[in-house]
Amino acid sequence: MAIDSYKWLPGSFANYYKTLPLEKAESIPWTPLAKPIEECCFSLVATAGLYVKGKEPSFDLDGERKNPFWGDPTYRTISRDVKQEEIGVAHFHINTADLETDLNIALPVHRFLELEAAGEIGSLAPTSYSVMGYQGNPPNTNEWENRYGPEMAARMKEEGVDAVLLTPV
């Protein structure tokens, strides 16, 4: 079956995205999975604007309010022992109420700990990551591409990560 990628958008936005001319990446990188899933070390990346209260600052929503054409490109780290009550959510573009009660709907840290305990994956790495998905209008992903993406990838390599689940919200 084919799902409708524009189902949840109001009509005018749905038409905008359906007809938006997009430039496909010149080449899409490919890393074959190096080992069985049951032996892989995983990390997670979500665009939900999650952060750990008291450990790292929130995302710069004041900056976005001052300049609505800009979105904070930085990232936050979420440790594998994070508890739900430590999670803050900073995102102007979605209803964050459910994320505030269950981060696993975007960043499934607790589900991956269960998969690890059951032996279905090798392990969950010490660190997972959160960005705030809105990157401006028109979107500017230069900082993700050239600075923060490579920083996250380098830390993943240090932590022996084999595979990553990404969940845009």
């Binding site: 079956m1 799902i3 990628s5 524009y6 189902k7 949840w8 995205y17 997009l22 430039e23 496909k24 990446a25 899409i28 990188p29 490919w30 890393t31 074959p32 999975l33 190096a34 899933i37 990346v45 665009t47 939900a48 976005e64 609505p68 995102h91 102007f92 573009h93 979605i94 209803n95 964050t96 459910d98 994320l99 009660t101 696993n104 709907i105 975007a106 589900r111 991956f112 269960e114 998969l115 994956i121 960005v131 998905g133 209008n137 993700w144 591409e145 993406g149 490579p150 990838a153 380098a154 993943m156 390599k157 084999d162 595979a163 990553v164 689940l165 990404l166 969940t167 845009p168 919200v169």
Partner: protein, 115 residues
Amino acid sequence: MPVLARVIEAAGISTVTVTAMPDLAERLGVPRIVGVEFPFGHTLGHAGEREEQMKVIRDALRVLRDASEPNTVEHLPYEWPDFERWKRVWHPSEAAPIIALLIEQRRRARGRNSS
């Protein structure tokens, strides 16, 4: 997000992306794409619904294991009940700054046209 998937994949780490907008991901180019017809902010399921979240995650792990070429796409068949309510519920209570600005611009343009 397609940019981050490509940067991480290019660093030698296999990635799988679960998204409610697989068509956009496919058009931009992402290594492995799993589409879910779930409302924004709920990529892996309902809050508190562990089994639903696990089903989507296990499907993503299967695609990660079995995909053999870049831009592989699989759409999952799971349904999200109560569309009429959820098409409103996923929105923030206050419009995002850019949305408020665009709505205001459109309103002013209409005002000019009608005067």
